[in-house]
Every structure is written in C-alpha cells, then in structure tokens.
C-alpha cells in the first residue's frame, strides 16, 4: 500500500491534471457563472502537467505494479495531447461566447478527457487502456452534444455514443480473448509470448478485435462512418479536439500495443492493418472531394490521415513508430489550426461553413488567409511544412517493411487530396467574394493559431528536432 502511495506521486502529469480537473469542477460548482475562472484554471493545469511531462521526457519508470509507465514515450504523447487541449481551450472561449454557450464544465470535460488520453499512452496493461479509452470517450460524448439546443449536436452526440459503445463491446471481448489465451493482461508478458501466441487463432481474433476498437477511435475505414456526422454536429473546437487529441491518443495505444508490444511484422495482423490503411486513404481522400461543408471535408481528410498513419503501424518497425510520433506532432497542429480558423469564421446556425464562404478571404483578412493556406499546404504534405516529413517518414517505414504498394497508394491518394486542400487556397486567393466577416479575431486565438503555424514551419525545416527524441523511445 505504501508502495502505491509513492507511485501515486510519481505519476505526476496524470495526477496533477486530474487534481486540477476536480478543483476546477468544485470551483465551477461553487462560484456561479464564472466560466472564465475555469478557463484559466484548466489552462494552468495543462501547463503544469506539460511541465511535468517535459521533465520526465528522458527515462521511463513502470508504476503500480507495471500497470502504468511514467516518462519517456508516455511523456512525449502527453505533450501532444496537452498541446491539443491547450489550443482547443484557447480557441473555444471566443467561440462559445459567440454561441452563448460559455460554461465552466466545458473546460473540465476537456481536461478530464485529456487525463483519459494520458492514461491510454501510459498504459502497460490492457485494463488501463480500457480505462483510459472510456474516460476519454465519455467526456467526448458529452462534449459532442454540448450545444444541446441544437438538433444536429444531439444527433451527433447520440450517434457517437451508440457506435462508441458498440466498439467498446468489441474492445472488451478482444481483451477477454487475449486474457484467455495469454493468461495475462500485462502487455510486456503478452509481448514475450507473442511468437507462440501468434499461431493461436483465438488470440489472433482477440488481437483483431483490438484492431477494430482502435480503428474505430482513429476513424479508419470501415469503422469511420460516425466521423463526418459527429464532426459536423459537434462544436467546431470539439471537432478539432476529437480529430487531434483523441485520434492521437488512439494512435498512442496502437503504437504501444501493435509496435512496442507485438512484433507484428510479417503476420496476418500486419496485413489487416495494411488493408485498413489502404482503404482509409482511398475512401477518405476520394470522398473528401465531394464535400462542400468544410467540417465534413476535414472529417474525411482526417480519415485519410488515419490511413497514412496506419501504414506506419502496419510496417511495425522503428521507422513506423518514429514516423507516427512525428506525424502526430505535425498533424495535431495543422488540423487544430484549420479547425480553429473555421471556428472563427462560423456564425450562428451553422452559417459560413462551406467552401464558397471563403472566396476572397485573402483581401479582407490576409493574415487569416495566409495561416489557413499554411495549414492546407501542410495537410497536403507540401514542403517545407511539417506535414511533408510526416508522410515521408510513414511511407518510408512502409517501404522498409516491404510494403511498397502501400506507400504507392499513399502517394497517389495524397495527390487526390491536393485537389480539395488547394481548392480552398484558390478560393481564398483567386476568387472575389462578398464582404463577409466584420468580426476581429480574438488575440489569444490568433496567437494560438499563429503558434501552430510557426511550429509547422519549424518542424518542417528542422524535423530532427522531434525525430531524434522519438527515435529514442523505440522499445524502451
């Protein structure tokens, strides 16, 4: 018992953020109508947790009887989640005030979801993964329907919840099958006996169930159907959070189970993942072309990006792991940036969400248009922005693992994606539009979005900044 208590204080990033979440909740409940206080408290909590994560980037220690890992890989992932949450919160304030839904519990839910994500990345045991996923998901179900007088928001929340519950069933079933065959839920022990277990079809079915559940969370085809509807109906900043933080968390689990634990290279699991990756890239990119609503376009684009990153998982090598960690760092910022600008453009009753509303934006708001263009170029994978190196590294991983065909599909479908990303740029810069937005961008939001863009440029010019750190985590 004593031992656990000391462990408790060692898991500082998770514990500190959880404490902040509870404090914020109490403060919000006690003081009426002071959402700004929650806003600041949650930001401080995130900064504190990020500070603890940076401090523990170097080494990783197992805690709670090897249930959790503190430091190293998990700290790196924490920074991605915390970055996503931070930007999302900064962007939300203005957005919610405009929609007159500014409530303190919004921020509490976001940081509780973040605690769930951090648990997922830190997990060394299947049970903790389950715990983390549920903590994250339940908060997100609520957040998706946060604007509760809006019909679409209710629809989105319910859909997400029902399908999410459906997926959770498979996750639990998979865990049960793995426990049944391996005799343990501890990842390290399962990993040790993986060479024998991989011939056991019951175990493989269990692993397949995990793939299904995780693929649902990253929105990979064919478990992606919820994503466009949910992203469209949710508050835009929450769509940003779901498509970045939540997706990154699911990928963190993917990496820790399928790369760091299982040696899936050459097994059927690798084939399955490769096929899911290929189909996601094709369906995501092709369908995105037909979209007119920007949030739906980004939803399909995020499905395609899940496909790119899954190529790295399917490869199952060090390049794959490093590539995904790099990709996530870039993806989180470019996607939040894009959603952030959409959230600023958006008006009451879902107005100003289509491509055509952005025509001629560059002449009215040159800075905003330039930032949006940076995000679009980066999403399309055009150097010198970070998105290029993300794709480069995961495709390189696929080639090294002998799956050149997957990399070819990746490159061809990225080519398709250039169409819909640049369509927006063309509209902003080369078409005249009607005068639309009088609103000024709020200074913190603008600063947050600019930081994201700057980060993309720095990472694009200096990829080894992150790659060198990420490389160090391989199987430690």
């Amino acid at each position: 018992m004593n031992n656990y208590l000391t462990d408790f204080w060692q898991a500082t990033p998770i514990v500190s953020l959880a404490i902040f979440a509870l404090l914020t909740l109490i403060v919000d409940a006690a003081g009426k109508d002071k959402p700004v206080l929650s806003y600041w408290m949650s930001l401080i909590g995130i900064v504190v947790a990020a500070g603890f994560s940076v401090a523990s980037l170097g080494a990783s220690t197992p805690l709670f009887n090897t249930m959790l890992a503190q430091g190293g890989y998990s700290s790196y992932c924490n920074l991605i989640f915390l970055g996503s949450a931070f930007l999302c919160i900064v962007l939300s304030r203005n957005y919610l005030e405009r929609l007159q839904y500014h409530r303190g519990e919004f921020y509490v839910l976001i940081i509780l979801a973040t605690v769930g994500m951090m648990l997922m990345a830190a997990a060394l045991d299947l049970m903790i993964i389950f715990l983390g996923i549920e903590l994250m998901s339940i908060c997100l179900y609520v957040l998706a329907g946060f604007i509760r007088k809006k019909e679409k928001a209710n629809e989105s929340s319910l859909k997400y919840f029902l399908l999410g519950a459906f997926a959770t069933g498979f996750l639990l079933y998979g865990i049960a099958l793995i426990y049944g065959t391996a005799g343990t839920t501890n990842l390290a022990l399962i990993g040790k006996s993986f060479p024998q277990l991989s011939h056991n079809s019951l175990f493989m079915i269990g692993a397949g169930m995990l793939i299904v559940a995780f693929s649902f969370k990253v929105a990979a085809v064919p478990f992606h159907m919820w994503a466009p509807d949910v992203y469209e109906g949710s508050p835009t900043t929450i769509s940003a959070f779901m498509s970045t933080g939540a997706k990154a968390a699911a990928f963190a689990v993917f990496v820790s189970v399928f790369i760091r634990t299982f040696d899936i290279g050459g097994t059927k699991l690798s084939d399955v993942l490769a096929i899911i990756a290929a189909v996601s890239m094709i369906v995501g990119n092709v369908t995105a072309i037909a979209q007119n609503n920007l949030k739906r376009m980004l939803a399909y684009s995020s499905i395609a990006h899940a496909g790119y990153m899954l190529s790295g998982i399917a490869a199952g090598n060090i390049e794959g792991e490093t590539g995904i960690l790099f990709y996530l760092s870039a993806y989180v910022f470019m996607n939040i940036g894009a959603f952030g600008i959409i959230s600023w453009m958006e008006q009451q009753d879902d107005k100003k969400l289509t491509f055509d509303d952005y025509a001629g934006l560059s002449s009215q708001h040159p800075a905003v248009a330039a930032l949006m263009a940076i995000f679009m170029f980066s999403l399309a994978g055009i150097p010198p922005f970070a998105g290029f190196f993300g794709k480069y590294y995961v495709f390189l991983a696929a080639v090294k693992a002998g799956m050149t065909w997957l990399a070819i599909i990746g490159v061809l479908t990225s080519l398709i994606s250039v169409y819909y990303y640049l369509r927006l740029v063309v509209l902003m810069y080369f078409r005249d539009g009607q005068a639309s937005i009088e609103e000024k961008v709020s200074a913190p939001a603008m600063a947050a979005i600019s930081c994201a863009a700057l980060f993309l440029i720095v990472l694009g010019l200096y990829p080894s900044l992150v790659v060198d750190i990420a490389k160090g985590f391989f199987k430690i």
Partner: protein, 646 residues
C-alpha cells in the same frame, strides 16, 4: 576559437534580409535602409576578420573546424546507405578566404549602392535581395556538405535572377533574368547528377567523409563522370563555354549587382567548387585536361569578343568570362592555389572596374555606349584614377595585383606536369588581348575627344558613398597581389602556404613536386609583361593618337569585325539549334500532343472517375446509424475471415 563564430557570420545578412524584407517597405528613410543593409554585411566581415586573425595564430592542423547546427535531413538507421545531412558550417583556410572576399567586397559594394540606387522606388527591395544574396553565398562557401552547398548555389542563382530582373518594368531585363536562370538550370542539373553519383559511390554527401574516402582511391572512370558532371555545373554558374551566354545579358541588372554577383563573387562559385573538390578532380586527370582546355578557350574567346564591344558593361562582362577562364585554366593544370589567388585579386579589380563603370553611367545619365563618351577624366577625376588602376591590375603590369596571380597561372601552365606550352601560348595571347581591350575602354571613355552631347549630358563625379569604395578597391587592386609574391621574386608566397593543407591531398595524389626557381620563369614573366605593355601601347595608339587606324581596320577586316561584334553568332546558333527546336517540340508535340491529349486526358479522366467514385461513396453515408453499424459489422466479419482462414 569561439565555436559558433561561423553561425554569427551567416546570421547577420539573414537578419538583415528578414528585417528589410518584412518591414523594409514601410521605412521611408533611405539612409536607414542602407545602413542596415550594408551594416549587417560589414559586421559579418568584421567577425570573419576576427576569426581569420585567430586562425593565423593557430597551428595549420588546428585551423579547420566544423560547427554543426542541426541534422537537417536524416533517413534513420545506421546502415551503410543511410542518408543524413546536417546544416553544418566548415571553417578552413579556403572557406575563410572566400568568406572574407564575399563579405569584404560585398560590404564595399553595399555602401556604393547607397549612392548608386539613391531615389530608386525599389531601394529597400534592392538591399533585401542583396542581403539574401550574401546569406546564400556564405552558405555556399561555408557548407560542409554538398547538399547545403547546393542550397547556397541555388540561393545565389535565385538572387541573381531577382537582381538581374530588378527593374522588371522593362521587358529585356526580365528576358535576361530568365535566360540566366534557365541556362544555369542546365548546369545545376549536372551538379545534381554529380551529387547523386557521389552519394552512390561514397554513401555520404559530407565533404570530410567523401574526400577522406576519395583520398585512398586510385583514378578511375567513375571519378571522371562525377567530376565532369560537377564541372558542367561550374560552367553554368561561372559562365564558361558552352554555358557562358547568360552573363553578358545579365548586365541588364543594376551595376552594383554586376559588380557583386556577376564579377566578384557568385560567378566564382564554380571555381570554388572545383577547388573544394580538388581531390576528386585529382582522381580524374582526363577531367582536369577538359577543365584546362575549356578554361583556356573561354579566356581567349571571350577576350576577343571584348575587343569590339561598345557597351561599357558588356566589355567588362566578356572580360569577366575571360578571367574566369584563367581561373579554370589554373584548376585544370592543378594549380589550385593560383586559381584561388586569381579569384581573389580578380574580385578586387573587377569589382573596382564595374563600380567605376557604374560611376560613369551614373555621371552620364544612364549612357552606356563608350562611343558616346570620351574625355571624361576631366569630369570624373576620382573615377578615372581608380579605373586606370583597375585596368593596369587586370592587364598584368607589376606590381599590381593582377600581375602576380595571372603570372602564377601562366607559369604553372607552362611548367606544370598537367600544363602544356600550347595552353600557355593561348593564355599569354589572351592576356595581350585583355590589356588591349581594357585600354581601348579607358581611352574611349576617359580620354580623347568629348563625343557626348553637351546640351543634354552634364557629366559629374559620383558622391562620396560611391567614390570611397572605389578608392578602397583601388588600394586593394594595388597591394592585393603582395600575398602571393613568388619565390623567384624573393616573396614568401603567403597565400600558397596558407592554402597548402587544403590542397595537400590533391597535390599528393597528382604527385606534384615543387620547382626550384628557373631562368625560364623570368623569361616568361618578361614575355607576358612585354605583351601587355605592347598591347597597352597599341590600344593607346589606335584609339587616341591615330583614331583613323581603328576605322581603317574595321573596314579592312570587315567580316572578322562583324563576327566579333556579333559575338561569333553563338546566341543565334543556340537559338537555331537548341532554343527554337525545343520551343517547337514543346509547343507542337509536348504541349498540344502529350500534355493536352495524353496527360490532361488522363488527369481529367481520372479526376472524373474519382469524382464519380466520390458521389458513389457519399451515398453510403446515409446518416442512418443502423446502416453505419452494419458496415461496421461487415468490416469485422471480413477481418475475422482474413485472420482465421488465410
């Protein structure tokens, strides 16, 4: 040595570029812009100078050091074929010399530009590009690997393009800029291919790694290919046959640009690159021979065109091409030090001559035709004096800078194991032509009758910001050669000793032995000075004392004159054989045939297909959740079947 000094040197011009580029258009004060633009380069020069003096205090082996900033591109894993390139700067005897030339001469030209560009609406834009150029050029010379060098190489090419086309309202400046860019692309392609071959053969692009591995090799055909490709790159950037055609047109840019980029620094990048890769060229004697022949041919070819040109800047442009030819001749006969030495002295006197011509153009209200000048020494005394010093220096009259460097090249050409008497004859003849056209230029511009229209043109001396740089450069053109006084003239040849460690591997490989002083050296020296003096005398006679002679010769050798005046019709030949057919094929076949029907057809066709598919898939997305769950289950079933059955 302060570890990060090279970074500081590179950083200043970059900051200047960023500052002026971002807010330069809002600064209305020209003085402030000029101060920032030239100040950043001046600071770089001071830091480089400090570094240089520190290096002189060190033991020769300790002078070289590399500062790695960060790993730029790394393709993982420690396998032999892994690709990793850093942004890293290398300071050694050669790169510090180049840095001093680039920042020192660059600084003077920046200061000069404050006066020359005064009143131009694009004043801030000019200094932005110039600072960017210095930044790129420093990357080129300080890089410790081929890729970063190539980045600098392309960067200076871009700046050259931007600055040639600086006055973009005129069509011919745009055309000249495009010509420079496109011709350079041809050379760059060679450089790139050479770089690929280097990576394939040495598994690295890092200078130390490549040259270290090369040092233990024997001459072989791969090396010939690599060096030939690199040399093609050099002919593009350094305007050698056959890719020299862009340089004369590049004179459309402002004159300080011609001085900085198209005379003193950028065009010498090819020479620097060959010198940097001297060990690779030492492994390919066949390439060395090619380099020497191309260099000698270019030297005399361009000099002969320079004899009859009437545009003051065109004469200097052909002179630059010709002098670059001498540098390549030096490289080709394995006299690497002599080539770099000439690069340095040439930077001084050619920058001086160009800036002088700029002062003339400035004073003559944008007149560039020397037939419409004459007698200007009365109006522009400082410009005249400094210009004559430059002319004497380039003509190779002792003890001016050009004499020592040119004489060293000619001597090595004559006596070296890789030289030959024939190449020496060509070189000496070219030197005579150089002296002749230079003094033709001096005579027609500054002396003799005043042939300009006195009612409209009132020649005047340039302001101080322009004349002071001229005076400094004139001083350097006089004393700059003293660092390379050969042993035969009782000098220490400091520059040779300084650069010795850089070229030692190549010299070892080529088994070059140092010569003792021979009487032939004095004889050759005497002959080349004699030729120069005779040529100067001839030029002054023809263009000052007996002006009718020039006219008479023109008529007597009319066809030859026409050929020279039209630059051997090379541009026309290129147009007929390369440019026009390319345009025709591009338009008729590639554009209307391949592009429109095949590629556009395929693209539009597949785009239609994708759009169709998109509409199809979109229909699956019904919004009905039961159907979503069905698809979900379908996916699970397929996965299970795959996992169990396959």
């Amino acid at each position: 040595m302060v570890a990060y000094t090279p970074l500081i040197i590179v950083l200043f011009p970059l900051l200047g570029f960023l500052f002026l580029g971002l807010i330069g258009s809002r600064i209305k004060n020209e003085k402030l812009i000029g101060l920032i633009g030239s100040g950043t380069v001046g600071l770089s020069f001071l830091v480089a100078l400090g570094l240089f003096f520190q290096m002189t205090g060190l033991h020769p082996e300790e002078r070289k050091h590399v500062v790695e900033l960060f790993t730029w591109i790394s393709a993982f894993t420690g396998t032999a074929s892994s690709f990793s390139v850093s942004v890293a700067y290398q300071i050694d005897q050669l790169s510090i010399l180049m840095t001093l030339i680039v920042t020192g001469v660059g600084f003077l030209i920046h200061v000069y530009s404050i006066g020359y560009m005064h009143g131009d609406p694009g004043f801030w834009r000019f200094f932005t590009y110039m600072n960017l150029f210095i930044f790129a050029m420093l990357n080129l010379v300080l890089a410790d690997n081929f890729l970063l060098m190539f980045l600098g190489w392309e960067g200076v090419g871009l700046c050259s393009y931007l600055l040639i086309g600086f006055w973009y309202e005129k069509k011919f400046t745009g055309d000249a800029a495009k010509k420079a860019f496109i011709v350079n692309r041809v050379g760059d392609f060679g450089f790139l291919l050479g770089m690929f071959l280097i990576f394939v053969n040495f598994q690295s692009l890092n200078f130390d790694a490549v040259f270290g591995r090369a040092a233990v090799l024997n001459p072989n055909s791969t090396m010939v290919w690599i060096t030939l490709l690199l040399f093609i790159g050099a002919t593009g950037k350094s305007a050698q046959i056959p890719l020299y055609v862009w340089l004369p047109d590049a004179m459309a840019g402002p004159t300080p640009v011609s001085a900085l980029i198209h005379a003193a620094t950028m065009v010498t990048a090819g020479v620097y690159m060959v010198a940097r890769c001297s060990i690779l060229f030492a492994l390919a004697p066949a390439t060395l021979e090619v380099v020497a022949i191309i260099g000698a041919l270019t030297a005399i070819f361009a000099a002969s065109i320079g004899l009859v040109q009437n545009d003051i800047k065109k004469v200097l442009a052909y002179s630059t091409i010709s002098q670059l030819g001498y540098m390549f001749l030096a490289m080709g006969v394995a006299a690497f030090t002599a080539g770099i030495f000439h690069l340095m002295t040439h930077a001084f006197f050619k920058a001086l001559l160009f800036l002088g011509s700029g002062a003339v153009i400035h004073g003559m209200h944008d007149e560039q035709d020397i037939q419409k000048m004459g007698g200007l020494k009365k109006y522009l005394p400082t410009t005249y004096r400094t210009f004559v010093i430059g002319a004497i220096a380039i003509a190779g009259i002792p003890p001016f800078a050009g004499f020592f460097s040119k004489d060293e090249i000619l001597w090595k050409t004559f006596s070296g194991e890789y030289g030959s008497v024939l190449l020496w004859v060509v070189g000496a003849l070219g030197a005579g032509l150089t002296a002749f056209y230079m003094f033709r230029l001096v005579s027609l511009t500054f002396e003799g009758d005043e042939r300009f229209d006195h009612h409209h043109v009132h020649p005047h001396e340039a302001p101080k910001t322009m004349t002071v740089p001229l005076q400094v450069l004139a001083f350097l053109s006089i004393v700059g050669g003293f660092v390379g006084i050969p042993a035969s003239l009782f000098g220490g040849n400091t520059i040779e000793h300084w650069l010795e460690p850089v070229f030692a591997p190549a010299n070892d490989k080529l088994r070059l032995t140092s010569h003792s002083v021979e009487w032939t050296e004095y004889l050759l020296m005497f002959i080349s000075v004699g030729i120069a003096v005779a040529a100067i005398y001839a030029a002054r006679t023809v263009y000052l004392k007996r002006a009718e002679l020039a006219e008479r010769w023109k008529n007597k050798y009319a066809s030859l004159y026409k050929v020279l005046l039209n630059k051997y019709f090379v541009d026309e030949v290129y147009d007929k054989t390369i440019v026009n057919p390319t345009v025709k094929i591009s338009e008729g076949f590639l554009w209307k045939g391949v592009d429109v029907s095949v590629i556009d057809g395929a693209v539009n066709g597949s785009a239609k297909l994708v759009a169709l598919a998109a509409q199809g898939i979109r229909r699956i997305q019904t919004g009905v959740m039961q159907q979503y769950a069905t698809v979900f289950v379908g996916g699970i079933v397929l996965i299970m079947i795959w996992l169990i059955l396959k």
